[in-house]
């Protein structure tokens, strides 16, 4: 049996230094390289205990988005014991994107071309902002949604077998596939962005109910504009109606009604 491993994380001051180095442009070139050795003195052993070594995430260069679902499941299975507090710690995710899953991060959320292709200051600034968005976290859920690795874990965590986490509300949705709603969420970039980018997405009951609707209405789910309008309308309704307090049947009926009005 493999000896349990303590997940390594960066020290907080190291994360801040790395962020400053990138922001200044000093480390920009390193984000084109696969090698990024972490020095032991920069790391801390965390309280996260792992039974196996980190898995390899798929990084097909031709269509990296297509591997999101498999990668989310692989990652979540490996880090199933994380709680929400641990899973919102920037030190963990910055370490994982820069070191443990660097190859994946470079393919999926890296920069195109080479460092020399960045001709002027404007291009460099744009590249830096892109990297800050996908390789670093400041601590809010917007950063977690956009971070190369954190987004995969959270996509799976927020959608894994809701009938187990909230049986009273979602008992009737029981499915053989515990990742059914993860698959719906990551089936297109539009669903992920439009559903999770809205404040509504923070409510697990609203999130799963919307995904349940989208899973059953595939034509609707293929339209970015329809999904965007649905979430916008639900947000607007939330101003005067606490839809989070509704029972499942009423919430589903409301989503269907709003969607019907869009079509």
């Amino acid at each position: 049996m493999t000896k349990p491993l303590a997940q390594k994380i960066y020290r907080r001051d190291v994360v801040e230094h790395m962020r400053n180095e990138l922001r200044s442009g000093a480390s920009l070139e390193s984000y084109f390289k696969e090698s990024f050795p972490a020095k032991e003195k920069e790391l801390l052993p965390s309280t996260i205990v792992l039974q196996t070594k980190a898995p390899v995430l798929k990084a097909p260069k031709s269509d990296p988005v297509s591997a999101d679902i498999d990668n989310a499941i692989t990652l979540y299975e490996h880090y199933r014991n994380l709680d929400e507090t641990q899973a919102s710690d920037p030190r963990l995710w910055v370490y994982l994107s820069h070191v443990e899953f660097r190859k994946y991060s470079l393919v999926r959320w890296g920069l195109d071309g080479t460092y020399k292709d960045l001709k002027d200051a404007a291009e460099k600034t744009k590249a830096i902002n892109y990297l800050l968005e996908h390789w670093f976290i400041s601590g809010n859920d917007r950063d977690l949604r956009r971070h190369a690795i954190a987004r995969l874990w959270w996509a799976a965590h927020l959608t894994y077998a809701p009938w187990e986490s909230d049986p009273e509300f979602f008992g009737d949705l029981k499915n053989k596939d515990p990742y059914y709603y993860t698959r719906v969420l990551l089936s297109t970039q539009d669903i992920y962005q439009q559903v999770l980018e809205r404040a509504m997405g923070r409510s697990n009951r609203v999130l799963i109910s919307v995904l349940d609707f989208l899973g059953k209405n595939k034509k609707f789910a293929q339209s970015r504009e329809s999904i965007r309008t649905l979430m916008k309308e639900l947000n607007l309704a939330y101003g005067t109606k606490k839809i989070i307090t509704l029972d499942r049947a009423s919430l589903s009926a409301l989503i269907e009604k709003v969607a019907a009005d869009i079509n």
């Binding site: 400053n20 920037p90 400041s138 859920d141 917007r142 005067t240 109606k241």
Partner: protein
């Protein structure tokens, strides 16, 4: 407790002068290692809404939201005093709690009591989930070791070395903490004094205090930094110390416990001590 006025399709208690009476919420909370306990007490005076709650047609709602952990959940009760428990691991940093009274079912022909003259005699069709009363919202920092009444400045502010060799200090609000960036020359001098107890008041007066005044101004005049950790912590401190209606200058002095006085005492101590005495 803050309340934002909104335009509702029906009169709502607590929303401007829509209805007579009041809906007030006392909101003590406990930050435990395993769980966070919310212990709201709901004070309601409006006979129509009181009657709806008594008949099971409306409930008190506490809506809890934590942007750091994708947490958004509502808790419902018809008791005037209730205890809600949330696993501590589900919350991190700033947590916002909003209080409402919502309809539990569709109410056709709802006739509010004590309405503003504009609504006198009017009836409304209210749906399940519709807000009938707003009690405002509050926030706290869900850090078990963080006591907002005794905040270490280091919990929301840090001082670092910049790239510029000399010149004025700069403030970076885009970090987890407010980051004061000193020139290399200032940083070198800062390192020499920061371990000295007597220098703490001087550093608070010269570096932390002006930064804090600016940060409080930012909180009150901009929504750009709402997601930042420092924003949540500083907002919670202002609320916990009841400094929300104080101007930035006074609020910052209260948080830092009169930095001018401490600076002057520090200078007096340093000038009267020999080099061997100043480190503790």
């Amino acid at each position: 407790m803050k309340v934002n006025s909104k335009s509702y399709p029906h009169p709502v208690l607590g929303n401007g002068d829509d209805l007579g009476g009041f809906f007030k919420v006392e909101f003590p909370y406990e930050l435990g290692r395993e769980e966070v306990i919310l212990n709201p007490t709901f004070g309601l005076k409006n006979s129509g809404i009181e009657e709806l709650i008594k008949k099971g047609r409306a409930s008190f709602i506490a809506e809890v939201e934590c942007r750091s952990t994708f947490f958004r959940k509502s808790f419902s009760t018809r008791n005037a005093n209730e205890r809600f428990s949330i696993p501590a691991k589900s919350l991190r940093e700033r947590v916002t709690v909003g209080f409402y009274i919502c309809a539990d079912q569709d109410i056709k022909g709802y006739r509010p009591t004590e309405p503003h003259a504009d609504y006198e005699g009017a009836t409304f069709d209210v749906d399940a989930g519709d807000v009938l009363a707003v009690g405002g919202y509050s926030s706290f920092v869900a850090e078990k070791s963080f006591d907002p009444l005794r905040p270490p400045v280091s919990s929301f502010m840090s001082i670092t070395e910049g790239f510029h060799h000399e010149g004025p200090m700069q403030i970076d609000y885009d970090q987890e903490k407010i980051t004061v960036v000193l020139s290399k020359a200032d940083w070198k001098n800062y390192l020499e004094v920061r371990g000295q107890k007597a220098a703490q008041g001087i550093l608070h007066g010269s570096i932390v205090f002006p930064t804090l005044v600016d940060a409080i101004y930012k909180i009150r005049n901009s929504t750009d930094y709402e997601g930042a950790n420092w924003y949540g912590r500083l907002a919670a401190i202002l609320e916990a110390k009841s400094l929300e209606d104080k101007d930035e200058f006074e609020a910052a002095q209260r948080i830092l416990d009169n930095p001018a006085t401490r600076s002057l005492k520090g200078i007096d101590t340093l000038t009267s001590m020999s080099d061997d005495e100043i480190y503790d």
